[in-house]
Amino acid sequence: MGIEILGLPMMYYIAMVAKVLVAFIFVLLTVAYATYAERKIIGHMQVRLGPMRTGWHGLLQPIADGVKLFFKEEIVPSQASTFAFLIAPLIALIPAFITFAVIPFGGVIEVAGYKIPLQIASYIDVASGKVYDVNVGVLYILAMSSLGVYGIVLAGWASNSKYSLLGGLRASAQMISYELSAGLAIVSVFMLSGTLSLNEIVTQQSAMGGFGWYVFKQPLAAFMFFICSLAEINRTPFDLPEAETELVSGFCTEYSSMKYAMFFMAEYANMVTVCALTATLFLGGWNGPLTAEVPLLGPVYFVAKVYILMFVCMWIRATLPRYRYDQLMHLGWKVLLPLSLLNIVATGIIGYFIN
């Protein structure tokens, strides 16, 4: 098996690096063009055109935006806590990316005789042909996404501006509230799957010719998880932390140039992650027809599902107005939380009778 390093073949490292790169570039590009797509889609939904000038139908708009943000002056408010102010965008950005480590985006492909599972944090036991991954994958994702709030809270506090602070406070309260419901919503999935390993969950959904999706078994959980995820990543209609009509720009009021770009990227990367997670948990991940015959179809299905979900996000943004803060809390604590608990109970009872 060629050269081995620390008991693992060279190919393992090459594949690992390649997977990281592919995933990272995929997320980055998706983020970039999600901004463009969002503007276009919302534009057309409002019977407008959206960006049209930069490149053909504005295709170069994300690049122009990036270049613009890159060359903008770095501004640090004189009264801000400099260190926290500088570190906050990074804290927001990093969890958004590292969650991707455990999401399987395809089956096992064979490159140069070496079997590679298309999931970053995983390896394949050649002997048993079993793919091992982080067996608490979902918990890992929940843990990481709960860290994203630090970036926003810190940004809000460090800016030393009342709008920012209010944005930060709202963000933390909102994320804690909805994380709970999101977590409880997917408990029902675990109850069905009996595992926390994402790879395992995806595999379990491959039944029925690739259509044994949990969304059919747990539609309420899927629905609630998606809503809670939107709230957790501050997407409309839950974008209170940056409600421009009340808080100027919320926690990123004082941010500009690259630091602002990082928040921007974090927001869209989070969206990608959430959509990927929803796809994995409820829409069968990379499963689909003919994946067994053509393994490369897996990533294609996966990407397609993620993009459809992202479209739904944008669609919702184009449709719904922002919630009021009390409505948000009401929804989180008095509707979603009881519903998710009820869902668990129901799943348990039904599961008990079926088994």
Binding site: A84, N135, L139, Y140, A143, L154, E179
Partner: protein, 167 residues
């Protein structure tokens, strides 16, 4: 390889722990503590307890510390650089150091039992950590588990009563 990794984590953990108690700004203290929690989570992974690691990050870093940071921001506490109590620092340090020596001595000199339980690292990997913990919790420790839920309820009620200005 693993020793090196352990050393690095230990260094980070200790440095950030020291930062927790030495930073003037409570926010920085809190952030350092989050760092320490990460290191501990890493230890848990190394101790074949990935579920504990995930819960450590979720509960401690993701919930409790967010709450604390929230409170710090809400109270808008100024950096307390006004009064210095050197004698207190010295006294505290001496006590702390003495505790350290004492504990280390006791730990190292104490009798350590040989492994008695059924769970080895391989077995945990095989069965899944989460499952094992869950089984343990909902069988042998069911009563304490239920009691903790009452504790949490009491805590919630208490917090609400305390935080409300007028009842």
């Amino acid at each position: 390889m693993e020793t090196l990794f352990f050393a690095i984590i230990t260094l980070v953990a200790i440095v950030s722990a020291i930062l927790v108690i030495s930073c003037k700004n409570p926010i920085n203290s809190a952030l350092s503590l989050v760092m320490t929690f990460f290191c501990l989570a890493t230890y848990y992974v190394m101790l074949d307890a990935p579920f504990m690691a995930a819960v450590q990050v979720m509960v401690y870093a993701g919930a409790i510390m967010v709450l604390i940071v929230f409170t710090i921001m809400l109270l808008n506490i100024r950096v307390d650089a006004t009064k210095k109590h050197t004698h207190k620092v010295v006294l505290g340090s001496i006590i702390g150091f003495f505790t350290l020596i004492n504990t280390v001595f006791l730990l190292l000199k104490g009798h350590v039992a040989v492994p008695t339980g059924p769970y080895s690292g391989e077995m945990i990997k095989q069965l899944g950590h989460t499952e094992l913990i869950g089984k343990e919790m909902f069988t042998n420790f069911l009563l304490p588990f239920e009691i903790t839920s009452i504790l949490l309820l009491v805590a919630i009620v208490g917090a609400v009563i305390l935080a409300k200005k007028k009842l």
